[in-house]
Assembly symmetry: C2
Homo-oligomer: 335 residues x 2
Amino acid sequence: MKKIINDPYQVVEETIGGILKAYPYHLRMAKDSPRALVRADAPVKGKVGICTGGGSGHIPVFLGYVGPGLLDGVSVGNVFSSPGADDMLAATKEVNGGAGVLYIFGNYSGDVMNFEMAAEMAGMEDIKVAMSIVKDDVVSAPRSEKDRRRGVAGLFFAYKLAGAKADTKASLEEVKATADRVIEKTCSIGVALSPCTIPAAGKATFTIADDEMEVGMGIHGEPGLERTKMKKADEIADIMSKKVIEDLPFKSGDEVAVLINGLGATPPEELFILNNRIHDNLVAGGLGVYKTFVGEYATSMEMAGASLTLLRLNREFKALLDAPAFSPFLLQWRR
Amino acid sequence: MKKIINDPYQVVEETIGGILKAYPYHLRMAKDSPRALVRADAPVKGKVGICTGGGSGHIPVFLGYVGPGLLDGVSVGNVFSSPGADDMLAATKEVNGGAGVLYIFGNYSGDVMNFEMAAEMAGMEDIKVAMSIVKDDVVSAPRSEKDRRRGVAGLFFAYKLAGAKADTKASLEEVKATADRVIEKTCSIGVALSPCTIPAAGKATFTIADDEMEVGMGIHGEPGLERTKMKKADEIADIMSKKVIEDLPFKSGDEVAVLINGLGATPPEELFILNNRIHDNLVAGGLGVYKTFVGEYATSMEMAGASLTLLRLNREFKALLDAPAFSPFLLQWRR
């Protein structure tokens, strides 16, 4: 295991320590949990507070999306493990500006259970809480069983658009409705080329041959559609675009936002090579590409691979996508 | 070689293709070279144009720093190889808004030779050109032989501050003087954990054992200070901060900007763990940390490792650092 770490059991604490030292004007630790961070200026009075959370090891998911125009609070667990309901509650209490709190998170059983528990506990403290669960991975279950689908990089669009909606001082019901509509129109697929290692486990999450890849693998190494010989970028792009376009389905005339996400070790050059073909496929399918994001928006430590996410846009979604937002993890010079 | 590519000899063309499809409102190809990109609105009249360039394989260096408040044009060569003088000239001609053009690039012999040739050719077309060469890698030569030092992630600060200076409509001489002063106050050191593979070569740039790291290695695998057994994050942080602080030297009372840069495969979590210790070392040394950047700002494809860069600040530098800037590679939602 070749990692720049100290004690494998202190990875989360030291990561959070490094984050707070890097961005002291942007984030602070919640009073009741060292695993929960909130905007330095939380709570924003009269605005719906938005919290997320989940296992560590996916930066900028989850810690990187807190900021103006985005989220208000976040809690993280150990690497690839859910945070506790107490940690979630600690963030919830500090981001509640009187308009209630929305939880946006990925569809993993531990996270669902703990966020439900946190919502109950918040209810006992008279904080109104709603939940929007992201389920964008088209490979993880058929569309007819959408509620079993995992949440992956599509979190990004849910965060961005719900964050912009909350900034308009919309009600909790309205912000949740926006997040749910975004989630409904978001589809993703990933491919993995190499595994990653959970520091405390010390060995790779799965094995894969030097000439193999896995289409549809989840961000924790969950099994995908098929394991095949390594393919060319254009073939990978074709598989990804076909699978995602078919799913919603996206139709000729739709306008979409595109996210080509790197899982960790894959160089940006390769992500752009994927986009070179994916963009052509989308245009050939009659889709209008409104905006493209290329980079590391949801990672799995040093895993090599990439994912494609499409969001079907409408006028409301475009305005929310374009609204100002800031996080030092992604966005600089809005100081 | 496990890479998401098609033809290894088309990697640069397809990367550029993917970039132009992702950011069509932001960048365009220069008329005279498919290896040169400029701001979509180039030239900006009356503003000094700034160009950079170098080998491919380092995104966001070089292609990612073109944009308002940053650079105006860029040319790239094959992976880890200098672009040609013709490519550089193609960008130069299109970014010249009448106030001349500044070249900012790293200190590599091929780049120096070709940029000098491009400057001569531009001169024959009555375009005034100046050059600022970035030499921040403290390991690559002793300070007494600073002109032999390589340019690494410190490019980032030279780009940002010179870009902001050019935005004030300062003269070519003034923008160059700012860039040179920034370069003089910028020091970097890197550590490498694993090699990368040039697609057309098909094999790793160097070999390193599973339990080894190299302190001071360059971004193309140039030899560093020493190869040692893998160390803990805090030990690595101590070596890096000591070496960089001693070099300028940075003195108690100095304010600095800090860049913790990932070389490609190293997860953001590990960069923050480095910052957790580096920040403490800087504060213990009496330095004031004005602003910290953590992420992938200068990469070597899938190389694992990290670098530390410090820039000594003064009032002018702080204002230039904080000035607005935008590139979709780093900075979103300034549409």
